[in-house]
């Protein structure tokens, strides 16, 4: 489904601040797989997701989706097949629009945005049933502004928004990191359910080692712009959080900073 070959991303190229965010990434992901991505700060996790989504311009290499080269395609054009949820609950929706207006924008993703009324009764029905399944009672607040919701509620709605319109790929960038533990658990369960139901090829960046092993069926670890671990199937099932942490420690020469302690 996703083929990434020899991908490199350099920021501020040719200046003293030059940074090789991604050095050489080769990654092949089959359709319907759920990959968790871990790594310390600055390892290149978000850059990798950004490169796939089109927010980040590739310095070299090639990205293709379903055998189509999308390396030079702008983000808005990739949105037809790629859905995303961001870490910041504010980033994935418009706070000054209502819940149903946000959903309508997501519903039209990939379709022609014409001058017909956005909130048709048909669509409203779809929105209500999807929001109702969250069990958060938001179906009664469809005309509330998005800004009135809590962070967790907003991430849950963002996840619904990501999957309202048909798509093949779901990119999750630490989408539970800003939530309290209870809400994070809720959103993660919802993520698994949605991924399974729709069979989406998913990449989930996470800080939490346990989350990385619990969700998904393949885990990759990034370090300084390179993939240093790629575990799958049997090997992954036998892996404990401790073993993962120690692998993490090895590559960092034993130096652990605060973010590595997040189990």
């Amino acid at each position: 489904m996703i083929e990434i070959s020899n991908l490199g991303v350099t920021f501020a190229s040719g200046t003293p601040l030059e940074k090789h965010a991604l050095k050489t990434i080769d990654l092949s992901i089959d359709s319907g797989r759920f990959i968790s991505v871990i790594g310390s700060n600055g390892a290149g996790k978000s850059t990798l997701l950004g490169a796939i989504a089109g927010d980040v311009t590739c310095t070299r290499g090639k990205i293709s989706i379903a055998e189509r080269d999308i390396t030079r395609l702008p983000a808005a054009k990739r949105a037809r097949s790629i859905a995303r949820v961001f870490q910041d609950p504010l980033a994935g929706s418009c706070t000054n629009l209502t819940i149903e207006e946000n959903l309508a924008i997501a519903m039209a993703r990939g379709a022609r945005r014409d001058l017909t009324r956005a909130l048709s009764e048909d669509w409203r029905g779809v929105f209500e049933s999807r929001i109702k399944r969250l069990g958060l009672g938001l179906e009664k607040r469809m005309q509330d502004l998005m800004g009135q919701l809590s962070g967790g509620q907003r991430q849950a709605v963002s996840l619904i928004m990501a999957t309202l319109a048909p798509c093949d790929i779901l990119l999750l960038d630490e989408h539970t990191a800003a939530l309290d533990p209870g809400m994070a658990e809720f959103v993660l369960e919802l993520t698994k359910e949605v991924q399974r139901d729709l069979g989406l090829t998913t990449l989930m960046v996470t800080h939490s080692m346990s989350q990385a092993l619990e969700a998904g069926d393949r885990t990759i670890m990034l370090h300084e712009g390179e993939i240093i671990l790629d575990v799958d199937g049997q090997e992954r099932q036998g892996l404990s959080v401790e073993a993962l942490v120690s692998k993490f420690r090895d590559v960092r020469d034993g130096a652990i900073d605060s973010d590595a302690l997040l189990l």
Binding site: A79, A83, L97, A108, Q143
Partner: protein, 292 residues
């Protein structure tokens, strides 16, 4: 304040409602502070006036002013989207250029329309006194603009535009071509302002290159007054707010002109407007500061 002065203020407020609706589009919906309006208002006036004195049908001339305003907006959007010039600076560049363009369009600093038929002429023959007919006629036009604009902003296209202004990253992730929507939004905004200019010229009998001075501040003041009075989550409430704000602004000006009322003079207008806009910008911040 006399009845004539009051209805005069309403009339002018309705003309400038086109400006406040335009400013609302850029300033609030697109988050794109756009000073182009100081040039597109007189541009609309100039285009309509020149076409009318050359015998073009006033309605066609008014439409042409609408499109001319739109083109001015496209230039600003082009400078910003294509070349990455800061929106404020891009709009200042267009505004300055428009001063020369307006002089070219008119061929002189002032084109008179006092003796020509305008869009208003047939309505003045209906018998109602001009003092009431003028605002009534404008109210009809403003209401049409309001309905069309509300429908537009609630369409799939309009929602995408609102998303592009409110959260460009989210909009892109949802497949919205943000640059394209900035183009359309800024163009539509200036087209509305150009339309306002065309109506101003026809109703007041002249187009003058200096007509644009301070248009942005007046539009902004109207938007802010409207927002302060009419709060709501629905787009049409905000649009009605712009219109009401524009009328109230003019009534406030009229009160200031009735020097004997509060001791204000026309020369205090600019200061009063600046204070009003500043207050309206500061007050919500103070309120928020208290609650959190």
């Amino acid at each position: 304040m006399s009845a004539i002065a009051f209805w005069g203020a309403v009339e002018l407020g309705l003309i400038f409602a086109f400006v406040s609706l335009g400013v609302y589009l850029t300033f609030r919906i697109l988050d794109f502070p756009d000073l182009t309006v100081d040039g597109s208002f007189p541009l609309g006036a100039a285009v309509a006036a020149v076409l009318i004195i050359n015998g073009v049908n006033p309605w066609l001339a008014t439409m042409a002013a609408f499109f001319a305003g739109g083109c001015a907006g496209l230039v600003t959007a082009f400078l910003n989207v294509r070349f990455g010039i800061l929106h404020l600076l891009a709009s200042i560049l267009t505004m300055i250029a428009l001063f020369s363009v307006n002089l070219r369009v008119m061929g002189r600093p002032n084109v008179a329309l006092l003796m020509q038929d305008t869009v208003l002429t047939p309505f003045l023959k209906l018998g109602l006194h001009p003092t009431y007919m003028r605002p009534l006629f404008l109210l009809m036009l403003v209401l049409v603009a309001l309905v069309l604009l509300a429908l537009f902003l609630r369409s799939n296209f309009g929602l995408a535009m609102r998303a592009a202004g409110s959260n460009p990253r989210m909009a892109r992730a949802q497949g919205v071509n943000v640059g394209f929507h900035i183009f359309t939004g800024v163009a539509l905004s200036n087209a509305l302002v150009g339309l306002g200019g065309a109506l101003f010229a026809q109703i007041n009998g002249f187009a003058d290159v200096t007509t644009g001075v301070g248009t942005i501040v007046v539009g902004l003041a109207a938007v802010i007054v409207g927002e302060t009075l009419l709060r709501g989550r629905f787009i049409w409430v905000a649009l009605i707010g712009c219109i009401v704000g524009s009328i109230l602004y003019r009534i406030a000006v009229q009160l200031a002109l009735s020097a004997d009322v509060i001791g204000l003079k026309a020369s205090d207008l600019n200061l009063a407007t600046a204070v009003l806009v500043a207050l309206a910008l500061i007050l919500p911040k103070l309120r928020r500061g208290k609650t959190t």
